[in-house]
């Protein structure tokens, strides 16, 4: 603890000195009577000032929470010497807020007393946090001396994004070889009827369609569509964002990505992740719960890193974008590098679906005529950009905080159906 005399100590010493010398000069005992209390208080304060011994620990029961949830870390304060007046502040990083409005407390500790102080916090935003920066201030009994310290009791806390509501997934155009939940276009072992064909040596008897065989006078067998899984890559544009006071396009993108990843992994698909921006982050497609945690951890670390270097899709490792995979991109379409990379992916034959996380709600049209005109031109440019994607065969669904992601996905699904990219 760093000892620091308060301004009061200097003030009292000065008043005492002034009063005592004034009394000597004026030869008036009344002035001694005025000065003596200040002198006695200053002397007593200094004589009684003993550095307190305070130990503070932070216990954090959970290391992972969801955005919007509450958590209650417990501060344990103990003092061997006792403290007359102790103030304790738990510094909160942006994104965490005190649920009851206060992250600080003042208390008195008797010698040897141990106190547990729960602090109720609300997680306002997803992200990785280090919680446990503490400021501690103790006062002597007369308030003339302070002891201050900044303690580092930081514990990691991961706040996962609250997944956006998604009812139905985007169907991939092509499936992979492993069994899953999508009816494949291929023919093979399955339960979904595909077609009839003449019997061939090696066909199993159970596949013979007896009614068709009786009608045609020769053996015909049923063909089926097998159920297969798909490879899905969630592509997150982290080049730039449009942000308001409480939310940004990146926040929305991360929530949507979290929802997609969870849904596709539950459908036994292999899901990969690419955060494409100032800093590249990727995870190869895999299945299972472990992959869900891997991707969500990567999402929590997603941030906008300012970078002027040109990046294209060649920097993404090949294994991260397997052939025949469905790429679901989430982008505010604000950076040319992201736009170019997405069009490049489409040009390389990937099945690309784009959810445009709209920056429009974050951009005010402006006050004067010129600013309003610029805003209209910007909106037209964005319309043209969307049209460019659609001409390239990329379905674009627009989503913002005021609309439902379900609606944006329906927009994408409708385009893909009309463009014939996905069979019904």
């Amino acid at each position: 603890l760093n000892r620091r005399p308060t301004p009061k100590l200097g003030g009292y010493a000065g008043l005492a000195a002034l009063g005592l010398f004034g009394a000597l000069v004026a030869e008036r005992p009344e002035l001694v009577a005025l000065a003596a209390p200040f002198a006695v208080l200053a002397a007593l304060g200094l004589a009684l000032a003993r550095p307190p011994e305070v130990a503070v620990e932070l216990a954090l029961e959970v290391e992972r929470v969801f955005e919007g949830e509450e958590l209650e870390p417990v501060l344990t304060v103990e003092s061997r010497t006792g403290v007359a007046d102790l103030e304790l502040v738990l510094l909160l990083p942006p994104g965490l807020e005190a649920a009851d409005g206060s992250n600080a407390t003042a208390l008195r500790l008797a010698p040897g007393e141990r106190r547990e102080l729960p602090v109720k916090l609300t997680v306002d935003r997803w992200g990785g946090y280090l919680l446990g920066d503490l400021v501690l201030r103790a006062r002597d009994p007369l308030g003339l001396v302070h002891w201050e310290a900044r303690l580092d009791r930081r514990r990691p806390l991961k706040a996962y994004p609250r997944p956006a509501r998604v009812d139905e997934l985007l169907q991939p155009a092509q499936t992979q070889v492993f069994s899953g939940n999508y009816v494949s276009r291929e023919r093979g072992e399955g339960i979904e009827f595909a077609d009839l064909r003449p019997f061939a040596p090696g066909d199993r008897v159970r596949r013979v369609n007896w009614r068709a065989s009786a009608r045609r006078g020769e053996l015909w067998v049923n063909e089926y569509h097998p159920e297969r899984n798909a490879d899905v890559v969630v592509f997150l544009d982290t080049f730039s964002e449009a942000a308001g006071e409480r939310e940004s396009t990146l926040d929305l993108s991360v929530r949507a990505a979290s929802a997609f990843v969870g849904h596709y992994l539950r459908h036994k698909d292999r899901v990969g992740f690419v955060a494409f921006g100032g800093r590249l982050n990727w995870l190869q497609p895999r299945t299972g719960v472990a992959q869900l945690y891997r991707i969500v951890d990567a999402l929590v670390d997603a941030e906008i890193v300012l970078n002027y270097a040109w990046s294209d899709v060649d920097v993404i490792p090949r294994q991260t974008l397997p052939p025949r995979s469905l790429v679901v991109a989430l982008s505010p379409l604000l950076d040319d590098r992201a736009v170019s990379a997405l069009l490049d992916l489409r040009g390389r034959g990937f099945d690309l679906a784009l959810v445009e996380v709209s920056p429009h709600p974050f951009v005010e049209p402006g006050q004067d005529e010129r600013a309003r005109l610029a805003h209209r031109l910007w909106l037209l440019q964005r319309d043209a950009l969307r049209a460019r994607f659609e001409r390239a065969g990329v379905a674009v669904g627009t989503w913002d905080a005021d609309t439902s992601l379900v609606g944006a996905l329906e927009e994408v699904r409708s385009f893909r159906r009309s463009a014939g990219r996905v069979h019904a």
Binding site: P7, A13, L34, A104, A106
Partner: protein, 157 residues
């Protein structure tokens, strides 16, 4: 709180009420300005000016010792305690027990200040020795008090 000794000085003085009141009002104004802008030196200056107005009262007075000096000392200490509390806003909202403790501390300080001032005044009017001896004791006490403060402050910092 600081206005009370100032009003007392201005009303009790038989001569020159204007300068006494002027000094006192300047002291109160300085204290308010210091507390508002957060300047501790200005606060001390305000209390010193208010004390000076009382000094003027006793200097222009009849010549006897003013036995109300301990009350003035208590008021000055109370004003100083409140002003310095305002200068250092708390980091945290205090629990009722801590608030009561702080209020109790101020009360004990004010009562103690009154007691110390009364003791000093009693020692001066009781004529425990010749005036020369008393003056010498006063000088030694003043120097010793300042020396002790300086020593303690040095050890502290």
């Amino acid at each position: 709180v600081l206005a009370a000794p100032v009003v007392y000085s201005a009303l009790a003085t038989p001569r020159a009420p204007g300068p006494v009141a002027g000094l006192g009002i300047a002291g109160v104004a300085l204290l308010i300005v210091g507390a508002v802008v957060g300047a501790s030196d200005v606060v001390a200056g305000g209390i010193a000016l208010a004390g000076s107005s009382y000094l003027l009262l006793v200097l222009v007075g009849e010549g006897g010792v003013d036995l109300r000096a301990p009350l003035v000392a208590g008021a000055l200490v109370l004003a100083a305690e409140l002003a310095y509390s305002a200068l250092e806003p708390p980091l945290a909202p205090a629990a009722p027990a801590v608030r009561a403790l702080r209020a109790g501390r101020v009360a004990v300080t004010v009562v103690g200040a009154f007691g110390v001032a009364a003791l000093v005044l009693f020692a001066s009017v009781a004529e425990l020795g010749s005036p020369a001896v008393l003056q010498a004791v006063g000088i030694v006490a003043a120097v010793a008090a300042l020396g002790m403060l300086a020593l303690l402050a040095r050890r502290l910092t």
